[in-house]
Amino acid sequence: MLKDITLGQYYPADSVIHKLDPRVKLVWTMLFIISLFVFGSISCYIVVTLVLIGLIRVSKVPLKFMMKGLRAIFMLMLITVIFNLFLTPGTPVVQIWKLTITKEGIRTAAFMAIRLVYLIVGSSLMTLTTTPNDLTDGMEKGLRFLKVFRVPVHEIAMMMSIALRFIPILMEETDKIMKAQMARGADFESGGLIKKAKGLVPLLVPLFVSAFRRANDLAMAMEARGYHGGEGRTKLRPLHYESRDRAAYLLMLVYIAVLILVRIAAPVERLLGIAF
C-alpha cells in the first residue's frame, strides 16, 4: 500500500525537467496547483491538460509511473465525486430513488475529479524528477525569506532530508519486527478494530524504541562530524540559476497569461453555447 505512493520517489532520467533548479520546480508546482483552482473552466482545463501532457513527455517519466500515485487517492476521489454528484442543488438530470443528479452536480464532480488527478500528477511530476535532496535544498534556499519570521528553515529542511533517509530503513524494520512477532504467533490480520489496534502494540513499541535509538545515534554522529546548525555551512551542490531556469520562469508567466486570456475569451464555451 505504502509502496503505491509515488510522491517522494525519484525516477532517474536525463531530461530538461530533471536538470531544472528545484526552486523553479517548486514554484511551478505551486502555481500549477493554484491555477487548477482559479481557472475552473473547460477551455482552461484543455490548456492545462495540454501543458501537463507536454511536461510529462518532456520529463521522460513513463505515464504508468505517474498513474501509480493515483491509486493511493482513489478512495478519496470516489467519495468526492459521489458527494458532489448527488449533493449539488440545481437542474435535475437523472432521478434514482431519492437521489437526484443535477447538471451542476455533474459539472462540479467532473471538475473536482480533474483537479484531484491533475494535482497528484502535477506534484508527482515534481517529486519524480527531483531528488529528495534537491527538493529539501530547494525548500531551504527558496524559503529562506521566512527566516525573517523566525521560521527555522534550515532545521526543517535538515529534518526532512533525515526523514527521507530513514523512511526506507524504518519500513524495512517494520517488516522485520512484524515477521519476528508473527514467528511468536502474533496475528496482525484477523479480529475486529479493537483487537487489531491492540495487536499493533508488539509492533509499535519495538519500532519506537528502535527509532529513538537511531535518533540518538544519529545525533551523536552528526555532532561528531561537526554539525552545529546551518550557520557557516557550505554545500556540495549549491543552487544557482542557469539560463534554462530563467526560461522556465518565463514559460510560467506565459502559461498564466494564456490561462487568463483563455478564461476571458472562453472559446470552447462559446462554441458549445454553455454558460461560463
Binding site: 533517509r165 530503513i169 545515534d217 555532532e223 562530524r225 555551512r233
Partner: protein
C-alpha cells in the same frame, strides 16, 4: 608531540531509579592512561561494558572526563572553545553503519562533515573524490546508501570522516554488525589509511583478529586497562586472556596447549607459518 595524551582519566555517571532518584555512581572509565604518537595504530580490546566505548567517546570530546586530563593534538578536551577543532582532529566512526549516514546520496553524505566546517565548494568536491577513492567507493558516489552492503556503508562512513582531514580516526566497533566479508573490507581500508596516509588509528573492537594488526593493544575490563603491549605480548598471555573470556587466535591457543603438553615452543606465536616452522624444528630435531 603526542596526538593523544590522557592521564588518570575517570568517567563517572549517576544511574537513576525509575522514580528519578540517584541510585548509584558508575565508574565507566577508571584511571586510564592513554597515549598515541602520530601514525600509531592502537587497538582497544574488551567486552561490552568494559568502558572501551566510553573511553572512545572522550577522544573527540563527545564526553569529557570527570577526573584527569585528556589532550588531543595539544588541546584540552574540556575547553569548549577547542571543541570543533578537536572533532576535526579526531574523527569518529560508530558501530551501526545505518545510524551515522546522513545524506541520501553517497557523495552528499561524505561532504557532510566538510560542509559543516564551511569548506568552499571546489575544495569540497576534491575532498569527496579523494576520500571516496581512498576507501574504494568512488564508483558508488551517486548511489543511495540504503542499497549498499554493511561493509560498503561503513566505508562510506569512514570516507565521511576522512573528508574532514583528521589526524586521527577513532573507530568504535566498526565491524560488530558486519559479516566476515564486510569486516575484512573495513579493516583493510583502515589499515590502508594508517599505512599510506599515516592517520593515527584507534580501533575499538572485540575481535582479536583485528587487534592483531595493530602496533599496540590495550585490553580493558571494568573501566581499567588490564593489559597492554604489542599484539604478540598481549596474545601470548593465553591464560590471562581466557580468564577474562577474550579470544586468542586459534593458532596461538594451539601453540600454548602444545607447550603445556611438553613441546618446546616459543611464546606468542601469531601465525600459521610461525607455528609450522617451530613444529618443523622440533620434528627435525627428533
Amino acid at each position: 608531540m603526542k596526538i593523544i595524551k590522557g592521564k588518570d582519566l575517570v568517567y563517572e555517571y549517576i544511574k537513576f531509579t525509575d522514580e528519578g532518584e540517584a541510585e548509584a555512581k558508575v565508574r565507566a572509565v577508571d584511571g586510564v592512561e592513554i597515549e598515541a604518537e602520530p601514525g600509531d595504530f592502537i587497538a582497544i580490546l574488551g567486552h561490552n561494558g568494559s568502558g572501551k566505548s566510553t573511553l572512545a567517546k572522550h577522544l573527540n570530546a563527545i564526553l569529557t572526563p570527570t577526573e584527569g586530563t585528556l589532550y588531543v593534538d595539544g588541546k584540552d578536551t574540556r575547553d569548549e572553545n577547542s571543541l570543533w577543532q578537536i572533532r576535526q582532529t579526531a574523527g569518529m566512526v560508530f558501530q551501526n553503519p545505518d545510524n551515522q549516514i546522513i545524506g541520501t546520496v553517497v557523495d552528499e553524505d561524505v561532504a557532510f562533515g566538510p560542509e559543516n566546517m564551511g569548506v568552499p565548494v571546489e575544495e569540497l568536491w576534491k575532498r569527496v573524490e579523494k576520500s571516496l577513492r581512498a576507501v574504494g567507493m568512488w564508483e558508488y558516489r551517486s548511489h543511495s546508501p540504503n542499497k549498499l552492503s554493511g561493509g560498503q556503508k561503513q566505508r562510506i562512513a569512514i570516507a565521511g570522516i576522512v573528508a574532514m582531514q583528521p589526524k586521527c580516526i577513532v573507530l568504535d566497533e566498526p565491524t560488530a554488525m558486519l559479516d566476515p566479508v564486510g569486516r575484512r573490507e573495513v579493516i583493510r581500508t583502515v589499515m590502508e589509511l594508517n599505512r599510506t596516509q599515516h592517520v593515527t588509528v584507534i580501533l575499538i573492537t572485540h575481535y582479536m583478529e583485528e587487534a592483531i594488526l595493530a602496533d599496540r593493544v590495550m585490553v580493558m575490563d571494568s573501566g581499567k586497562v588490564i593489559l597492554q603491549g604489542t599484539p604478540r605480548e598481549v596474545f601470548s598471555k593465553v591464560e590471562f586472556m581466557r580468564e577474562h573470556r577474550l579470544d586468542v587466535p586459534q593458532v596461538t591457543q594451539l601453540a600454548w596447549e602444545l607447550k603445556r603438553a611438553g613441546l618446546d615452543l616459543p611464546d606468542g606465536i601469531l601465525t600459521t607459518e610461525e607455528l609450522a616452522d617451530a613444529l618443523d624444528a622440533i620434528r627435525g630435531g627428533e
